[in-house]
């Protein structure tokens, strides 16, 4: 009976989220089969329109490359953090967290300043005589990838670190004392043991990349059109809610399916809780 009191504590946030968030999101999904008229014509566009197919392919390609790059770099950092003395580890963690908390907007601005046509790097390259023409690092897919991998590395490090710190070091020692070299021990013992971490980090990075808006919009300079930017154009400029909500539905379906898979073997609050 007394437990009912506690639902009173839950109710305010629950009602707010249900009325002003969950219901509107469901409405967006509903729009994808009702706007402009009822039916699946919005989904048919996927097969009819080559530009839509291109956008989906760009999104998928950029997300996969970002995931690969961020998890690879994150693995190295997490590995070193897990095995270095605690003093150096906390310095490394500080670096990861500072980067984690610097606004995505500030970082996109920084990359534009560094890598732009008249940017600092091109200025240095030209004045040192290494090149005559400025190199185009941004306003193309390379720029988007640099910016997105840079943003995602901390998201890869945190789940990997949690996984590696949970390993029993004696297993690796046993492998070494049985005569396996460091490389063999890594490949046959360590890497398989860290597969859950790699899997979690990959899903997390991929999911966040999938809906990413700011970095592709700024560093892609309109030339690398990904799903999120296309949605915003459809909603704010051309007012095509049907197409926009269809893409949103696909995106949401992918995100939720992947997060559900992730939650099967890792507590989501641990993945995000690592923020602190």
């Amino acid at each position: 009976m007394r437990l009912n009191n506690y639902w009173l504590l839950v109710a305010p946030l629950l009602l707010l989220v249900m009325a002003l968030y969950a219901w509107p999101v469901i409405n967006i999904l509903w729009l994808s089969v009702t706007e402009p008229q009822a039916g699946l014509q919005n989904y048919e566009k996927l097969f009819a329109s080559s530009s839509l197919a291109r956008i989906l392919w760009t999104t998928l390609r950029v997300c996969l490359l970002t995931t690969f790059g961020a998890v690879l770099a994150g693995y190295l950092v997490a590995y070193m953090m897990a095995h270095l003395a605690s003093g150096e580890r906390s310095w490394m963690l500080t670096f990861v967290l500072v980067s984690f908390w610097v606004s995505v907007l500030v970082r996109a601005f920084a990359w534009l300043t560094l890598l732009g046509r008249n940017g600092l790097l091109n200025g240095a390259l030209i004045s040192s005589g290494l090149t005559d023409e400025p190199i185009t690092f941004v306003r193309n897919e390379l720029g988007v990838l640099i910016g997105m991998i840079h943003y995602m590395i901390p998201y890869a490090v945190l789940p990997l670190l949690a996984n590696m710190q949970g390993l029993d070091g004696r297993v690796m020692s046993a492998s070494r004392s049985l005569g396996a070299g460091p490389l063999v021990t890594f490949r046959r013992i360590y890497l398989p043991l860290t597969m859950p971490g790699i899997f979690a980090a990959s899903i997390l990075v991929f999911v966040i990349s999938l809906g990413f808006y700011v970095t592709p919009a700024i560093l892609g300079g309109g030339r690398v059109l990904m799903a999120a930017e296309y949605i915003s154009v459809q909603v704010l400029v051309t007012l095509q809610w049907g197409t926009a909500s269809m893409l949103a539905t696909l995106m949401l379906g992918g995100v939720l399916a992947l997060m559900f898979t992730l939650s099967r073997f890792m507590k989501l609050s641990e993945v995000f809780g690592a923020k602190a």
Partner: protein, 270 residues
Amino acid sequence: MNGRSSMGWCFGRAGAWLVLLFLVLPALIALPVSLTPERYLSVPKDSMSLRHYANLFSSDEWISSIFQSLVIACGAAILATVLGTLCAIGLWRISTRFSEAIRALLLLPLIIPPIISAMAFYRVWVKLGLLDSYLGMIIAHAILAAPMVLITVSAALANFDPKLEQASRNLGAALPTTLRRVIFPSIRPGILAGAVFAFILSWDEIVVTLFIAKFRVFTLPRRMWDGIRENTDPTVAAAAVVLIVVTLTALLLSVLLSRGRAPAAETKET
């Protein structure tokens, strides 16, 4: 592992630090650029100047954007912290299969891509007349930030002995008294951390802002967004420095305020 002095180990360590420098240094380039004496984006060579900061703090537009961002971030942080904390305590005490499903539902705003949240808010805000208003921004940001509070407070509650709460209730204290005298003091670091995260989330939020604010409400990230797209004026670099400084100050404050309290230390370690 063995062989810490081997070549491979040295390379790995150097590689890890290179990645970390790659993470932090570019993000901080705004600082030297903001001190350039030139009118275009550049690194100061012979002299430094504060002219772009003077520009920033004498421009009515930038000042009003900073002010609006602070008001909205504080409002969203307070709303998210109050609702999120109460909710976390309720879910912690009920703790059934059903309540855990509700918890998962309440974490959705953190998982759903911001662009989809932006579409959802936009349509409802049009109907409710909340577009382009402080209230609309505060509610939207609070909904996005509440999951952060839910997570940090739940982490603090995990270290809190439920028997203390039961003892208080059995000794005749009503729920509000128990909350105020027993539970809140014990989970303060978690509440504080949640409030800081909520503040930062709102302070640099841009995607939802782009959809639901246009003229009257023009936050700092919104003005920077326009500035970055024009991409010539170093005042944006000065604004970026202000944005980072406020974020890092808030984080530092939360670390300092929770230092020395055992529950905070435990939450931070996990």
